[in-house]
C-alpha cells in the first residue's frame, strides 16, 4: 500500500516510442471512454430502481458520452496521423500500479489506429443497442439489472481495447467473459438459458488457460515485460527466440479459438443466443467475440514471427480461420432458429477475420471487423424486431411473408444480408474482397502479390462466400416471403427499434467507401484506402507487411461465386418451394422430395450438419462420459482392491505396533517423564511468575518502557561500535 502510494506520487511514466507531450484532449483523456459506462453501471446498479425509466436513460447518456469522446479521439487521431511523416507513434499513457520483485506492473492506455477504430465501433454499436433495448426489454422484471450490465459490458470491452499491457488485457478479457455470462443468462429462470450461460463461460475458460500461458511465455521470452509496445518492438527486432514465439502464439490461438468462436471451440456461441437479442447483437458485433480478433491484431508481431506468416502458404492461424469460415457457414443451413443461423454466420465471418490475419492481410481483417460489426448488428436487431412481432425465433414454424407486415425491418434486413453476402457495392463486398486478395492465392492477370501464396485459403474463402450467399437467401425466403405461418397479426416495431436498424443499414450500405482499393479507377485517388492509411500502424512495433494489389478479375470472380450461391438457393426456395406452396395452397419451407430426402450422401451430410458435426456429442457424450463412466469405474476398482487392501494391512500392522508402543513408550517415557515432568515444571514457574501479574496497567507500562529504554540503549551501543 505504501509502496503503491510512493510510485503513484511519481510523475506519469511513459515508455517506448510513444510521445510524452500532449496529443490533444481526446487522446490524452481516452480513459474517460470506458470510465463513463463503468460509473453508469455502478449508479444504475445502486440507484437504478429509484430512477425514472429504470436507469436506461443514464446508461444511454453514459454511452453517448463515450461515443462523442470516441469521435473526438478519432478526429484527433486523423490529425495526429496526418502530421506524422514517416511512421506514426502510438499515444501511450501509463502509471505505475505496483512494483513487486523488480517488475513494475503498469496500468495505462494505448491509442493508435487500431484502438481508436475499436472505440468507435464499440461505442456506436453499443449506443444503438441501448436505444433498441429500451423498447425490446421493456416490461422485463430485471430491466434495471439488464441496463446496468449492458453498461458494464461496454465498459469492460472499452477497457480491454485500451489496454497498454498484456496483463491489463487479461483483466479486460476476463471481465468481458463475466459480463457475457451474466447477460446470456439474463432469463436464468429457464434451465436452457442458465446452461447456455455456463457453457459460454466454461468453454471460454478452456481458452483462457491458453491466454495465461501465452502471456507468461511472452513475458519471460521478451525480457520481463508486459508492455505491449516494448514487447512488440523486441519481437520485431528479432530479439525473441522463434520457438518461444511459436509456443506463445499457439497458446494465444487457443484463447482466440474459444473467445472468437473458432472451429472446434465455437459451440458456446450459437447457444449464447439464449440471451436477449440486443445482447446477442452486442456480443456478436462489437464486443466479446471480436476480443479475440483484436488480441491477435494488437499482438500481431508475435503471430507474424511465431507463425512465420510471410512467404508461407499455410499456417495454423490461417488454417483455423479457413476451416471455421467454411464449416461454420455450412452449419447455418440446417438451423431453423433465425438467431442461430446468424450465430453460425458470425462464426463463419470471424473465420474470415482470423484467416485474413493468418495470411498477413491485417488491414483487410480489421476492415472486415468494422463492416461486419455494423451489418451483423443490423441483422441481429432485425431478427429481434421480427421475433418481437411473431413471439418466436422459429423461421419454419412461425414466420414467412413478413415483408408486407414489417416493411422497414424487411428493407434493412435485406440491405444487411446483401452486405453479408458480399455483393457490390455494399460494405461486405469490399472487406471480403480485400481478404481474398490478401491471401495472395489469385494467380490470374498478374495476381495480387501479398505476403505468401495461400491458395487453399483463397479457395476456402470463395466457397465460404457462396455458402454465405446461399444461407442468407434461405433466411430471407423463410422469414419474409411465402405465406405467414405463425399465429396472430404481426406488426411493425416501434421507432426505437426501427431507427437503429436504418442507421446500421446505412453503414452496411456505404461502409465500404472508407476503404476503396488503391488504384481503383472509379474513385478519387485522395479518398482511396483511407481506412488502411489511418488505422494500420506504421511503426517499430508493427511488422512490415506487404499489401495485396487489388484485382478486377478477383473482384468479379468473387461476385460471380456469391451470386451463384445465392442463385442456387433462390432457384430452390423462390422458384421450386414457392411454386409448390402455391400449388398446395399452404406455405411450405422445403420440398418433400428435395435432395435431403433422397437418401445417400446428401442425407448423411444433412444429418451431420443437424448434429453440428457431433461436436456437442463429443464434448458431452465422449469426453464427459469417459470421465464419468469407465475412468470413474476404474478409479473405484483401484480404490476398493488396491488402496483399501493396502490400508487394511497397514491398519492391522499399526494396531500391533501401537500396542507395543503404548505399553513401553507412552506409559513410561511420555506420561511419567515428559508430561508429568513438564506439568510440574510449569506449575512451579507459574507460581513464581504470577507475582509480576499485578493486574495494574501502569506497572505493565512501566516494564514496557523500561525494556524499551534498555533496548534503545543496547541499540545505540551497537551503532556506536
Amino acid at each position: 500500500m505504501f509502496a503503491a502510494a510512493l510510485v503513484a506520487a511519481d510523475e506519469t511514466v511513459a515508455y517506448g516510442p510513444s510521445s510524452t507531450d500532449s496529443a490533444g484532449f481526446f487522446l490524452d483523456y481516452a480513459w474517460l471512454v470506458p470510465l463513463l459506462p463503468a460509473l453508469s453501471f455502478l449508479v444504475i446498479l445502486l440507484f437504478g430502481k429509484r430512477m425514472r425509466g429504470g436507469g436506461a436513460g443514464l446508461g444511454i447518456a453514459a454511452v453517448s458520452g463515450s461515443f462523442v469522446l470516441s469521435i473526438g479521439a478519432l478526429i484527433t487521431w486523423f490529425d495526429h496521423r496526418d502530421e506524422a511523416h514517416e511512421g506514426v507513434a502510438a499515444v501511450h499513457r501509463s502509471v505505475g500500479w505496483l512494483t513487486s520483485g523488480g517488475v513494475t506492473f503498469d496500468a495505462g492506455i494505448l491509442l493508435d489506429g487500431l484502438s481508436v477504430m475499436m472505440l468507435l465501433v464499440v461505442t456506436a454499436v453499443s449506443l444503438l443497442v441501448h436505444i433498441y433495448s429500451t423498447d425490446y426489454v421493456a416490461g422485463d422484471s430485471r430491466y434495471t439489472h439488464f441496463f446496468a450490465f449492458l453498461s458494464l459490458f461496454t465498459a469492460t470491452m472499452l477497457f480491454f481495447v485500451l489496454s497498454d499491457n498484456t496483463l491489463q488485457m487479461i483483466v479486460g478479457w476476463e471481465l468481458v467473459g463475466v459480463c457475457s455470462f451474466v447477460l446470456i443468462g439474463h432469463w436464468w429462470e429457464e434451465k436452457p438459458n442458465s446452461d447456455a450461460a455456463l457453457k459460454a463461460f466454461l468453454t471460454n475458460r478452456v481458452g483462457d488457460v491458453g491466454l495465461l500461458v501465452g502471456v507468461s511465455i511472452l513475458f519471460f521470452a521478451a525480457g520481463n515485460t508486459f508492455d505491449t509496445l516494448t514487447l512488440s518492438e523486441r519481437v520485431n527486432a528479432g530479439e525473441v527466440s522463434h520457438t518461444a514465439l511459436l509456443a506463445a502464439s499457439l497458446c494465444l490461438l487457443a484463447a482466440v479459438m474459444s473467445k472468437s468462436g473458432q472451429f472446434i471451440l465455437h459451440t458456446w456461441l450459437p447457444d449464447a443466443m439464449a440471451g436477449p437479442t440486443p445482447v446477442s447483437a452486442l456480443i456478436h458485433a462489437a464486443t466479446m467475440v471480436v476480443a479475440g480478433i483484436y488480441m491477435v491484431a494488437r499482438l500481431y508481431p508475435v503471430f507474424w514471427e511465431g507463425m512465420s506468416i510471410a512467404g508461407s502458404s499455410i499456417n495454423m492461424l490461417a488454417l483455423v480461420g479457413a476451416v471455421t469460415l467454411l464449416f461454420g457457414g455450412l452449419l447455418a443451413f440446417t438451423q431453423n432458429d433465425i438467431k442461430k443461423v446468424l450465430a453460425y454466420s458470425t462464426v463463419s465471418q470471424l473465420g474470415y477475420m482470423v484467416m485474413a490475419l493468418g495470411v498477413g492481410a491485417w488491414t483487410a481483417a480489421m476492415f472486415h471487423l468494422f463492416t461486419h460489426a455494423f451489418f451483423k448488428a443490423c441483422l441481429f436487431l432485425g431478427s429481434g424486431s421480427v421475433s418481437h412481432a411473431v413471439h418466436s425465433f422459429d423461421m419454419k414454424a412461425d414466420m414467412g411473408g413478413l415483408r408486407k407486415a414489417m416493411p422497414h425491418t424487411y428493407r434493412t434486413f435485406l440491405v444487411a444480408s446483401l452486405a453479408l453476402m458480399g455483393l457490390p457495392p455494399l460494405a461486405g463486398f469490399w472487406s471480403k474482397d480485400e481478404i481474398l486478395a490478401g491471401t495472395g492465392g489469385w494467380g490470374f492477370f498478374g495476381g495480387t502479390q501479398a505476403n505468401g501464396a495461400y491458395t487453399l485459403m483463397l479457395v476456402m474463402g470463395m466457397l465460404g462466400s457462396a455458402v454465405t450467399a446461399a444461407y442468407m437467401t434461405r433466411v430471407i425466403y423463410l422469414t419474409f416471403f411465402g405465406e405467414y405461418r405463425g399465429h396472430g397479426q404481426p406488426h411493425e416495431s416501434g421507432p426505437r427499434i426501427i431507427v437503429p436498424l436504418y442507421l446500421l443499414a446505412t453503414v452496411a450500405l456505404l461502409g465500404g467507401l472508407v476503404n476503396m482499393p488503391k488504384g481503383f479507377q472509379l474513385w478519387p485517388k485522395a479518398w482511396q484506402e483511407r481506412f488502411g492509411h489511418y488505422f494500420e500502424p506504421e511503426a517499430a512495433y508493427f511488422p512490415y507487411i506487404a499489401h495485396a494489389r487489388p484485382s478486377w478479375s478477383l473482384g468479379i470472380a468473387a461476385t460471380v461465386v456469391a451470386l451463384a450461391g445465392a442463385g442456387a438457393a433462390w432457384r430452390y426456395y423462390f422458384k421450386a418451394v414457392a411454386s409448390r406452396s402455391a400449388a398446395s395452397a399452404q406455405s411450405l419451407t422445403e420440398i418433400d422430395d428435395g435432395p435431403v430426402s433422397r437418401g445417400g450422401l446428401p442425407r448423411a451430410a444433412h444429418t451431420t450438419l443437424v448434429n453440428k458435426y457431433y461436436l456437442d456429442h463429443l464434448y458431452n457424450g465422449v469426453i464427459v462420459k469417459a470421465v464419468k463412466g469407465p475412468i470413474a469405474k476404474a478409479a473405484y476398482w483401484i480404490n476398493q482392491r488396491v488402496i483399501d487392501a493396502v490400508v487394511n494391512t497397514a491398519g492391522r500392522r499399526s494396531v500391533t505396533a501401537g500396542r507395543a508402543v503404548y505399553d513401553h513408550v507412552d506409559q513410561t517415557l511420555i506420561d511419567r517423564i515428559i508430561v508429568d515432568g513438564s506439568g510440574r515444571a510449569s506449575d512451579a514457574t507459574g507460581e513464581n511468575l504470577r507475582t509480576i501479574q499485578t493486574g495494574k496497567v501502569q506497572q505493565y507500562a512501566a516494564i514496557l518502557f523500561a525494556a524499551a529504554t534498555i533496548l534503545a540503549g543496547v541499540f545505540m551501543l551497537i551503532l556506536s561500535l
Binding site: 505504501f2 502510494a5 510512493l6 506520487a9 511468575l689 504470577r690 507475582t691 509480576i692 501479574q693 499485578t694 493486574g695 495494574k696 496497567v697 501502569q698 507500562a701 512501566a702 518502557f705
Partner: protein
C-alpha cells in the same frame, strides 16, 4: 537545518507523555498522555520528512493521526465502561487481571 530543535521538542513531549502514562491514576489523563507520545512521534516523522525532502514522513504522520483517532475512540469507550461498573476511573483499582 534546525532539525535538532524539533527533535528536542519531540523528546520533551515524549518524556512528559511517558510520565503521564506511568504516574497519573486518572484513566482519561493516561489517554491524553498517550496522545502526547503519539504526537511527539509525529513531530519526529514530519521533521525528518522535511529534512530529507521525502513525502514518506508526512504520509506516515497522517497514518498515525488516523490510527490515534481510532485508538482514542476505543480507549474512551473502555474508560466509560469502567466508570459505569465501578463509579471510578482510578486505574490502580482496576486490577481484575491480577494473577
Amino acid at each position: 537545518m534546525i532539525l535538532n530543535q524539533f527533535l528536542l521538542l519531540a523528546a520533551v513531549l515524549f518524556c512528559v507523555g511517558v510520565y503521564g502514562v506511568l504516574a497519573r491514576r486518572n484513566g482519561i489523563m493516561v489517554l491524553m498522555s498517550v496522545e502526547l507520545i503519539l504526537n511527539s512521534v509525529n513531530i519526529n516523522l514530519v521533521a525528518f520528512g522535511a529534512f530529507r525532502d521525502h513525502v514518506a514522513g508526512e504520509v506516515f504522520a497522517l497514518f498515525v493521526i488516523a490510527v490515534a483517532a481510532a485508538e482514542v475512540g476505543i480507549g474512551l469507550a473502555i474508560v466509560l465502561m469502567i466508570y459505569r461498573n465501578r463509579r471510578s476511573i482510578d486505574l490502580t483499582e482496576a486490577d481484575l487481571l491480577k494473577g
